[in-house]
Subunit: 404 residues, 2 copies
């Protein structure tokens, strides 16, 4: 900006706009098939269940929903989240929970509570884009952890104890990661915790997708495993959200943190937004208490399994010569990589003309690499659309190969 | 924190917890009369109107309320806010509005978009506490503007053009300021804008209380006046909120900013929480469209006028020898100052025992001064309670005088 306008801060200037959010407009074009956004399928929204919860809250305790509330969250919702987490094998109490405005704010809160400008954050590669944005805004630098198709290669994590390049925070999505779809195996989870304690690195485990497992068996969360590893409970926190299992429009997420860090996060959150909407918190609590959720989650699992199968079958049929990909056990994403070189960001405009959009891999890489990969979401479109979308993608790839 | 726990960031360590939020617990003690919190009177919540809005939204367009939305806010709400602001004499368009999670987030967003650590923020003295927190978290230093009982003394603002102590941002509540109750006169508003242009200081005008005027005449907002002052439109922004006129539990606020800054703020907000709850935004839009609001605001004005009169009469009857105070024309607060020395934070524990709480002035001063003042809110308690609260305060002051 020139001298006749306010000059923006360094950290704000460094934050790139989300390529994905920019694509949301494309996804709304008539006839477009979107494999781009991670938008939950709209047929899974329990509109009547949420309406009932609204009316119950406004009938029984309107003031709790309409007045200012505690920064750490409404007592009713924190209680329900304890039960929800117990189903995930996470044993906690209401006073360890901080309710956040979506899990995006959980990431920002931890970043602001822990990071000074120039501090290093360890990330998976590729990583969740909006986490990269939040850490960039906190002035962080990045170090990418060595990884393979199962996530972080814990036996190749270096020992930072004596160096000054030690990351202060490691961030990862442990289940059906966004964008790579990987799930960190049990042995690596334990090894990661041991490494965190030894190297004094705080691990933030983000788990928005864990409930959406449609194959295989649940692997315990890091905060569950931390109980077995001396010292580990002080070095890990857990973030999750109702966005993928109830509705993203509510913007209800939460954090479970060690006590001292939790106190700091609550002070920081006061400065950020005083508290997350007590209105949506009370409605979410009422909805969770209604026991409608477990049927909804089963429905989502079955639906997303069908979507995933349709997408993978179509890839098998049309693109096995061009691409490799993971076969999902849950979540919303397939990460597809060209066998031969190819920059997926140059493919995108051609695909867009063919009527299909995806997110190029470069968007997810803190080092802006991963050029020959792309993220394909199977959440938003239905099975028939996914099949058609991959046909269009195959046509786009043929055109693109001829041009380059 | 010791070496066996994660070490918090410098800026997070500098943020004090809000004394006021700590008092909210006290306010809930049985029999306690609270003059502390700025909680809107609960009898003013339009529960049935909000219930109708919920049901309409979930019936007519549930997906807009439940799915992810645009970072800048829902189109429906931005349109309604344009109308709301037109009633305030503010002429704007939907594309200049960024919806925020309460006006608290509006302050944090502007802080993060503009401030590098060490940058200076100009504040009123006393200032809104949670704004001090947000600027502290951004690593700001403070400079307090010279002021009197009408707010900033614009003819005593220095010229910073050549100095390096120039504030980058000035923050003020122009109408019925929190905590001082002052309203900046028209001539000072114009002078402040001219100073901002000349000194390249961005002015953030926070206006949560402007609609709650129950005496006298509305003074135009800075962004309205900026149209008359060359260059001023690039140097001022406007923040407001539905918290004081609809319900704080919704957490719906908004910003009106010059274009370039608005783009940066939207990028920053992506990293903070993706977007404000689309669920509450759609409900707020529906409620604003229902035309119930203007009756509600009239009701609130009348109610708060009665409250204010009860509080001021009781002060006249019981404490005119001890205190001076402003006579409010609107808003929620009276700022009372001892004629003789006295630290109101030492008075508070005695008042608490007598069954009344207030907020000591020190909480609102960026330099932690204003020790001999206190903020008395007339929003939460009714007239009879306010009268009784001041009787209790008078008793507490007598006891306290005897002890010191």
């Amino acid at each position: 900006m020139d001298g006749d306008n306010p000059i923006c801060s360094m950290s704000a200037s460094n934050v790139r706009s989300s390529t994905i959010r920019d694509f949301l407009n494309d996804a709304n074009l008539p006839g477009m098939i979107s494999l781009a956004g991670g938008l939950p399928n709209r047929e899974l929204f329990d509109v009547s269940g949420i309406k009932t919860a609204c009316n119950t809250v406004l009938h029984r305790h309107p003031e709790a929903a309409l007045q200012y509330g505690a920064t750490e969250g409404q007592a009713s919702l924190r209680r329900e989240l304890v039960s929800l987490m117990a189903h995930r094998g996470i044993d906690t109490t209401a006073d360890t929970i901080v309710v956040t405005t979506g899990s995006q704010q959980a990431i920002d809160l931890v970043a602001r509570a822990l990071l000074n400008p120039g501090d290093i954050v360890a990330l998976e590669r590729p990583s969740y884009l909006a986490a990269i944005q939040a850490f960039t805004l906190a002035g962080a630098k990045f170090w990418t952890m060595p990884s393979d198709a199962d996530g972080v290669l814990t036996d190749r994590l270096p020992n930072f104890r004596t160096g000054d390049r030690r990351p202060k925070l490691a961030y990862l999505v442990t289940n059906f990661s966004n964008p790579s779809g990987t799930t960190l195996p049990l042995a690596r989870r334990k090894a990661l915790l041991a490494w965190a304690v030894e190297n004094k690195v705080f691990i933030l485990e983000d788990d928005p997708y864990g409930e959406l497992r449609f194959r295989g068996h649940r692997i315990p969360a890091l905060i569950t495993l931390a109980a077995e590893i001396p010292g580990a409970e002080r070095w890990c926190g857990y973030a999750s959200s109702l966005s993928k299992i109830v509705a993203p429009g509510l913007r209800v997420g939460w954090l479970v943190l060690p006590n001292k860090l939790s106190d700091t996060v609550v002070r920081v959150k006061q400065a950020l937004d005083l508290h997350t909407s007590s209105f949506v918190q009370e409605i979410a609590a009422e909805y969770l208490a209604s026991s409608a959720l477990s049927d909804r989650i089963n429905l989502a699992r079955e639906r997303y399994r069908q979507h995933s199968d349709a997408l993978v079958d179509a890839l098998d049929n049309h693109l096995h010569a061009e691409l490799t990909w993971n076969t999902p056990e849950g979540g919303m994403f397939v990460w597809a990589t060209f066998k031969h070189n190819g920059d997926t960001s140059t493919l995108l405009p051609i695909a867009r003309k063919e009527g299909v959009v995806f997110v190029p891999g470069i968007a997810f890489d803190p080092m802006t690499e991963s050029r020959n990969s792309m993220r394909l979401s199977f959440a938003t479109a239905g099975p028939a659309q996914l099949t058609e979308g991959i046909c269009r993608l195959a046509r786009a790839i043929s055109e693109w190969r001829m041009q380059t």
